[in-house]
């Protein structure tokens, strides 16, 4: 069931006195509620885990990288306005070009899209990672030298 199908459904309801409709098809469930005062409420419950589903990662064996991701999660919730820069590859995270050099960026640094902000070493290659947003670094989420997995948040940025 795609968005165009939902759109069609919404159209069907116009001019009827239907207050609520629920459609389940091909694993997608759509419920539409209508009211006079409030705008239409659309709840698509496809990917969401049902209440009874086993806890996703938390119950598993200790997972190096995922554990850190979990720590980060509540903070992200507090500051939904921040943007996170995530790792595009698996490897080792370095904050500076050489061990002696100062870090590319630190908390408070202003960064611009495309600016190199860290290095991730993978297969003996040093990959320069660029900021994908303009803004100010609010937090560095990974320790220097630490392993990171695909999609792991590296920096929190307060966007401009």
């Amino acid at each position: 069931m795609e968005n165009k199908d939902i759109k069609e459904l919404l159209k069907l309801l116009q001019g009827t006195d239907v207050s609520e409709i629920e459609v389940e098809r091909d694993g997608t469930k759509v419920r539409i509620k209508r009211g006079f005062a409030q705008p239409a409420e659309i709840m698509v419950a496809a990917a969401a885990q049902p209440a009874f589903a086993p806890q996703p990662v938390a119950t598993a064996q200790p997972v190096t990288a995922a554990a850190q991701a979990a720590e980060v999660a509540p903070m992200l919730d507090e500051s939904a306005r921040y943007v996170k820069i995530t790792s595009p590859i698996v490897g080792s995270f370095y904050r500076s070009p050489t061990p002696e050099a100062p870090p590319f960026v630190d908390v408070g640094s202003e960064v611009r899209k495309g600016q190199v902000i860290c290095i991730i070493e993978a297969m003996k290659l040093m990959n320069e990672i660029e900021a994908d947003a303009d803004g100010r670094i609010v937090k560095v989420l990974v320790q220097n030298g630490q392993s990171v997995e695909y999609g792991q948040p590296l920096f929190l940025v307060d966007p401009r």
Partner: protein, 449 residues
């Protein structure tokens, strides 16, 4: 005994879980890799560590060699188990492991390459004295040679890409008027698909059983066979049901097939577990089909009738240990059958991914389930649709069939559609129960319905 301290599993689903089980029993730590679509997958939950290696698309995750090698490096793993599919038969991957000093749990890149080039493999087999289907000697490079070969072997013939696989660059030709067009089409397809336009010609065998032999070889020159599997129940070259032993193989034929399989493995300088696939035609001819240079989906039926844990032996072999099983130790006891349970419509075979709202696995005597599915798991649409393997063992084929029927009956999956009803039909059919069928089984099953 040499043992790895930590093994990274470059796969997902039931085979990743299967490998974790073998590692645990050997006291080896495991690392799971996964795409973002598999964060809640069972192999991730069961492994000692896990690394997310990319987005849902396989090309950027499970087929992403640099990401996997990096995951080995950041977790300090010593070896990679590739499972089946994905990178398991990719010689570049085996080579990348070697270059990076990582043990690859499989044969050498050279063996993979040799067995993977079908036209080359034919030549190797002929030289080794393993019968191949009548056809051309190597690639056919011009129209005249094609005609010459076909006149010798007779119609129907099949034209195949030398570098081929997966049905691409393949053309069946029934009569002379179609030959030239098919030849040129196959060449063009082969070039497009594999960057290599070489094709070769073989007699097309319309009525056959698919019988394969499990082999095990160490790097000290020792090689044994663990008997055969019959995989004749197929749909579009996709195996659906496998069994061991084959209902048409007697002791003499078993020994013949086993000896040929060992000969084939030796010719490929093979050094791990692998499978030699044979065509067994209506006239009881045996022909080499291909060698699978990896563990196979259907390995459990052999495990059940021999009592040998193939994955554990595979890991021990890759760690450099000599084979600890002698040919005379291998005894076939009883009968085993495997049904591949796919998340598909059981009639139209259309994939049916989604949330599993309830799952009750069969159990009791003689029943084994290999699965990564659980209640509350969302079957992702990005990968293979096989969600479980149901394997049974009985004292004889009749008991195994009755056991499979009752196991299918008690196997409950809700939320998605599965091929369980299809397998019930197979097990109830007189054709399957008779044991007398060939690779056209499914067509005949549907005719009789």
């Amino acid at each position: 005994m040499n043992l790895f301290g930590k093994v990274l599993i470059a796969n997902r689903g039931e085979i990743a879980v299967r490998i974790i089980r073998a590692c645990r029993e050997l006291g080896i730590k495991t690392v799971a890799v996964h795409s973002t679509a598999d964060s809640n997958a069972l192999h991730v939950r069961l492994a000692d560590e896990s690394v997310c290696i990319g987005p849902p698309q396989s090309t950027q995750s499970y087929l992403n060699i640099p990401a996997i090698i990096s995951a080995v490096e950041i977790t300090d793993s010593e070896a990679i188990h590739p499972g089946y599919g994905f990178l398991a038969e990719n010689p570049q991957f085996a080579e990348a492991c070697r270059t990076s000093g990582i043990a690859f749990i499989g044969p050498t890149a050279e063996s993979i390459r040799m067995a993977g080039d079908k036209s080359k493999a034919r030549e190797v087999m002929k030289k080794a004295g393993v019968p191949v289907v009548p056809g051309s000697d190597g690639p056919v490079s011009d129209e005249a040679s094609v005609v010459e070969v076909v006149e010798k072997i007779g119609y129907p013939v099949i034209i195949k890409a030398s570098a081929g696989g997966g049905g691409k660059g393949m053309r069946v030709v029934e009569k002379k008027s179609e030959l030239m067009q098919a030849y040129h089409m196959a060449q063009r397809e082969a070039l497009a698909a594999f960057g290599n336009g070489d094709v070769y010609v073989e007699k097309f065998i319309t009525s056959m059983r698919h019988i394969e032999v499990q082999v095990m070889a160490d790097n000290k020159g020792k090689c044994i066979y663990l008997g055969e599997r019959d995989c004749s129940v197929q749909r579009r070259h996709q195996k659906l049901v496998e069994e061991a032993p084959s209902p048409v193989v007697n002791d003499a034929l078993r020994k013949k097939l086993g000896t040929l399989a060992v000969k084939a493995a030796r010719a490929f300088r093979y050094t791990n577990v692998g499978t030699v696939e044979f065509i067994y035609d209506d006239d009881q001819n045996v022909y080499f089909m291909e060698m699978n240079t990896r563990v196979q989906v259907e390995h459990p039926v052999t495990e059940y009738v021999t009592g040998i844990d193939i994955i554990k032996e595979q890991i021990l072999l890759a760690a450099g240990n000599p084979l600890r099983i002698k040919q005379t130790d291998v005894k076939i006891t009883g009968h085993s059958i495997e049904c591949r349970i796919n998340a598909e419509d059981p009639v139209k075979f259309v994939p049916s991914p989604g949330l599993i709202t309830s799952i009750i696995l069969p159990g009791g005597p003689g029943v084994r389930v290999d699965t990564a599915a659980y209640c509350g798991w969302n079957v992702p649409p990005h990968y293979d649709s096989m969600i479980a393997k149901l394997i049974v063992h009985g004292r004889d084929r009749d008991e195994a069939i009755m056991r499979m029927r009752r196991a299918l009956e008690e196997f409950i999956v809700e939320g998605i559609r599965t091929t369980i009803p299809f397998h019930k039909r197979v097990m109830e059919s007189d054709l399957f129960r008779s044991g007398q069928f060939n690779t056209k089984f499914i067509e005949r099953l549907n005719e009789s319905a």
